[in-house]
Amino acid sequence: MELTGLFFYIVSLLILGGIYALLCLALNVQWGMGGLFNAGIAGFYGVGAYTSAILTTAASGRHLGGFSMPVPMGLVGAAIVAGVTGWAVARICVRLKSDYLAMASIGIAEILRLVFVNESWLTNGSLGVSRIPRPFADFTTGRMSDVAFLGFVWVIVLLVYVATTRLYDSPWGRSLRAIRDNETSASAAGKNVEKFRVQTFVIGCAVMGIAGGLSAHYFRFLSPTATDPLLTTFLVWVMLMAGGSGNNRGAILGALSIWTIWSVTEIFTNRLPPEWATRSSFIRMLLVGLLLQVVLQRFRAGLLPEKSPPVRFRKD
């Protein structure tokens, strides 16, 4: 009994760890490779979550819906709508220097959150969207569906890892890193800085949308609290910094290790006296912040720092 309990604890840990790994890979494209300071991760994650939820649920009358699409279609929709949202933001903001982009993206995430809360016809407001289907619902039930979902999430993580690694290893990634390091000389070297930045922002936001969609299918329920910036934006930044900005494996490692620590500390903070337990998330945030300090003291560029990829072309 204890053992199966532990097993399913680990399954749920790895499912959410996988979703965070996606967010981290996405942020690594934007910040690690592109130097774009996206402080509105929660907004794009939320857009993806609502898109996939609305596309896949049956008609309910409480929110836009009734499309009953299969889950993979919902996720494709999540990527597209989050990507288009990212495109609109990028068109306005990519010319901004990174600190201003950070401010603009916080504002945009807040606007999106207000839309999720207030546009009831679309999202059912703070009551949320329920009965969101899981993939493989026909042949898995109960806790087995968690295991199936774990596989589903990590297949997507693998695909995104392969795609982002191809981006990183390519001339595209090299030019993007050059732009990040010195915009002026990159444009003197013929790089269309704005085009690269728009592409980068869109790709990252689309992946964030997929992560959001997966979370909606995992919890089967979605309300505006899911777009809490503490649990998405803040944690994802910590994960990428700790794991190694500019390194895709570092992004995954950071996501898994910080998420594990975050989850395990919950076991302890839940045992605190009630007047403390209500503040537990702030205590944990403090702990995670301290941990990041320690990691960065030892490893300035994160656990797995940025590395130049090998030159790749067919040797013949």
Binding site: P171, R174, A189, I203, S308, R312
Partner: protein, 257 residues
């Protein structure tokens, strides 16, 4: 090849370039000299598109490029180096050079995710050009070093290498010699003369060492206080009273000129 027509640049209240008009002839090695603060670097920035002038026009190969962005001018065949090195700090020396090449296939997102074969020939050519350039600049021993960790002189060489990577028509060199040792500087001069003679590559260089300028340039432009003071051969310019005046505010240091 390049023509500036009545260019003015203002930084707040300061007029850094003041109705400057001059021409950089195709196929030549032109020197751009003048005292510190004369507006030479700013003029380069205007030519390259990094700064937009308050008024005036820039022509490249007879075409008005005043409204073009820096990357579009680079695509048209213009390359430059920066007085203060602008390296890609987290990229290796090899990557700094390769990233400066034109790579239309390898910079296509769909190609790099789904059709990687499509850019391998292009990448191979870029790699070979970069290796050759590294050899030329004697940077082989630091080829895998991050550019941010190099010495000032090495960064200057990387600047030059990056400019060579796109096979440009003209290269603007801004005080490339500062911080580079004499021997290598001599070799660079030979290389510049060779590129000019064999490939017809046009150069314009800002340089303080007039002996170096006279070794390379048959024609020099002299800027002072934001506009063109005079132009001519190095010897003619050296003797010009106004040039001596501009440099030293008097004839005291004449012997050094």
């Amino acid at each position: 090849m390049i023509r500036l027509d009545e260019i003015c640049v203002d930084f707040g209240g300061l007029r850094a370039v003041d109705h400057a008009s001059f021409e950089i002839g195709a196929g030549r090695i032109t020197g751009l000299i003048g005292p510190n603060g004369a507006g030479k670097t700013t003029a380069f920035n205007v030519i390259a598109g990094a700064i937009w002038p308050s008024s005036g026009r820039v022509f490249f190969d007879g075409r008005d490029v005043t409204a073009l962005k820096p990357y579009q001018r680079a695509e048209a065949g213009l390359a430059r180096t920066f007085q203060i090195p602008h390296e890609f700090a987290q990229l290796s020396v090899l990557e700094n050079l390769m990233a400066s090449a034109s790579a239309p296939r390898g910079e296509n997102v769909l190609n790099v995710i789904f059709r990687r074969g499509r850019y391998s020939a292009e990448e191979r050519a870029i790699y070979e050009t970069a290796r050759e350039t590294v050899r030329l600049l004697e940077l082989e021993h630091v080829i895998d070093e991050k550019a941010g960790n190099l010495s000032g002189g090495q960064k200057k060489l990387v600047e030059l290498g990056r400019a060579l990577m796109r096979d440009p028509k003209i290269i603007l060199l801004d005080e490339i010699g500062a911080g580079i040792n004499r021997t290598l500087l001599g070799k660079l001069a030979d290389k510049i003369l060779m590129l000019n003679a064999e490939r017809g590559l046009t150069f314009c260089l800002i340089e303080h060492d007039l002996d170096y300028v006279s070794k390379l340039c048959d024609h020099v432009l002299v800027m002072a206080q934001g506009s063109l003071l005079t132009e001519g051969t190095v010897d003619a310019v050296r003797q010009d009273e106004r040039v001596i005046e501009a440099y030293f505010g008097g004839g005291k240091y004449e012997a050094q000129l």
